[in-house]
């Protein structure tokens, strides 16, 4: 298998509400793919299906054994200390050392023994990132991980993800509704609409990306059109 992720005929419906029908999706090893789509278009549903968290989803899903997911909410266990959250589900010796290494990558070693309730939103989300990284995933699934953060913290978190991706080179599927975020981070942007991948855009821009780049602006317009949003409307 040359692809890291290969999804064929993914389907999911709730009662008679068809959310996904015949979704095909490939991600190359080390490729960063962003998935955009309107709210309620089924992005999270697709991500959960790929992660193997939805037993009722139909279709074929091939993915690396080692994969990890970060949700919009950090979903840390409030009763476990930060480092124990990072190593949740792992077995073996020197778990604490591994947790500390992962936490140092997100700049949170000092909080290893704190409870999640004492962290800010951005810090919690970085712990969730560390929890994903410590598994050295071949595939990283991100479901709007920055959606709940304030603008400045979001920029920092995006930069952190870009840096970690460059270092570890996992395949990434990032769900987002933020067109700029998709264009800053991804090699390719997929548009989910009407239950299938309606459009695929190659982001042929050098990194690091500049928002003012003419090609960036053009792509941004295309993506917004795909989402059915006129640009002036979005800028209001």
């Amino acid at each position: 298998m040359t692809n890291s992720v290969q999804v064929r005929r993914a389907g999911r419906h709730f009662k008679d509400h068809v959310v996904l029908k015949d979704v095909d999706l490939d991600i190359a090893p080390g490729e960063f793919v962003a998935l955009i789509g309107q709210s309620g278009s089924g992005k999270s549903t697709l991500l959960r299906a790929i992660a193997g968290l939805d037993p009722e989803a139909t279709g074929d899903y091939a993915k690396p054994d080692r994969h990890a997911i970060v949700f919009q909410e950090h979903r840390l266990l409030p009763w476990s200390r930060v480092w124990r959250n990072v190593t949740l589900g792992l077995t073996g010796t020197d778990l604490r050392q591994r947790a500390l290494r992962a936490l140092s990558e997100v700049g949170l070693t000092a909080h290893a023994d704190a409870y999640p309730g004492t962290l800010s939103g951005g810090e919690s989300q970085r712990v969730a990132l560390a929890r994903a990284l410590v598994r050295t995933p071949g595939l990283l699934l991100l479901d709007e991980p920055f959606g709940a953060l304030d603008a400045l913290t979001r920029l920092k978190a995006q930069a952190l993800v870009a840096q970690l991706w460059a270092e570890h080179q996992p395949a990434v599927l990032l769900v987002t509704h933020d067109v700029e975020e998709a264009l800053l981070l991804a090699d390719r942007v997929l548009l989910l609409a009407d239950g299938h991948i309606a459009e695929s855009y190659d982001v042929d821009l050098p990194r690091p990306r500049q928002i003012g780049h003419p090609r960036f602006v053009a792509l941004r317009r295309q993506l917004l059109a795909g989402l059915g949003v006129a640009e002036t409307e979005e800028e209001l």
């Binding site: 979903r75 700049g107 909080h111 704190a114 309730g117 981070l185 990306r209």
Partner: protein, 276 residues
């Protein structure tokens, strides 16, 4: 944007939460005694003025009666018997309540089978059951322990079940995505998540156990706190009756303190509203 070189946000050294100063802890401990002190003083004043009826002893008189009972060893012996009964009853009742609650909480099949009978049984009043248990389990200790084990089962069962149902499903999902198996899920996610509620149930169960003890020792008893109170009733020793009432109250306070200690130790992670 991404072009910024990222300085990993320098994590401020974790500020260790300083233990509250001794003076503050002392002040709170004193405050906790104020309520009880007001109760005692009020009792003393009202009783010495005959406001509670001519028969009601003052706290001082009750203390004298208690001292007599302690000197003869009667009080300690009978308290010990009652405490052992409650302990045995709780050992059975709490285990059953926890077990049934876990069973119903973890499996829908378990809930379907367990819940209806438990709901039916929990409505039975201990007073009505006491004579039946005497017939079933004889006049000895067994019938009393059985009665004390019965009632505390239900508060714990209900709270264990509600606690498990209240665990955030998203935490379960994310733990599963981290590769946590069934046993790990129970140990790392579901039990800790349900624990605050389980401790509420424990507190209620312990309270119920002491109440049922009174009922259980009303009849066919030769030892225990109930005997002291029955004898005192027989001989109209009202001060002795009050001694036993006070002992019940103290035992209740003691068990509550025990659960508080558990809560402080087990729920230290919690950031709930603590009041001003």
């Amino acid at each position: 944007m991404v072009s910024h070189t990222l300085e990993p946000v320098a994590a401020a050294a974790e500020a260790k939460v300083a233990a509250p100063p001794v003076a503050y802890r002392l002040a709170r401990r004193t405050r906790k005694l104020i309520g009880l002190a007001v109760l005692l003083v009020g009792w003393q004043i009202l009783a010495s003025h005959g406001e509670l009826g001519s028969q009601t002893p003052t706290p001082g008189e009750v203390a004298v009666a208690a001292w007599e009972l302690i000197r003869s060893g009667v009080l300690q012996e009978n308290i010990a018997v009652s405490v052992v009964r409650v302990a045995k009853g709780l050992a059975i009742g709490l285990t059953a309540g926890l077990g049934l609650g876990l069973l119903a909480g973890f499996s829908k099949l378990g809930e379907d089978i367990v819940d209806a009978p438990v709901q039916a049984l929990r409505m039975l009043p201990a007073v009505a059951l006491a004579p039946i248990f005497l017939i079933w389990f004889g006049l000895g200790d067994l019938s009393k322990v059985a009665l004390i084990s019965f009632a505390p089962m239900f508060p714990l069962y209900l709270n264990v079940l509600a606690g498990i149902r209240g665990v955030d499903d998203r935490l379960v999902e994310s733990a599963r995505s981290c590769g946590v198996g069934t046993w790990g899920l129970i140990r790392r996610v579901i039990l800790p998540g349900a624990l605050p509620q389980i401790l509420v149930g424990l507190r209620q169960s312990l309270g119920v156990a002491w109440i049922v003890l009174v009922v259980a020792e009303q009849t066919a008893t030769t030892s225990g706190l109930g005997v002291i109170i029955n004898d005192a009733k027989e001989f109209l020793q009202i001060d002795v009756m009050f001694v036993v009432v006070v002992v019940y109250a103290l035992l209740g306070l003691g068990t509550d303190a025990l659960v508080r200690l558990l809560e402080r130790r087990l729920l230290s992670w919690r950031r709930g509203y603590a009041g001003v």
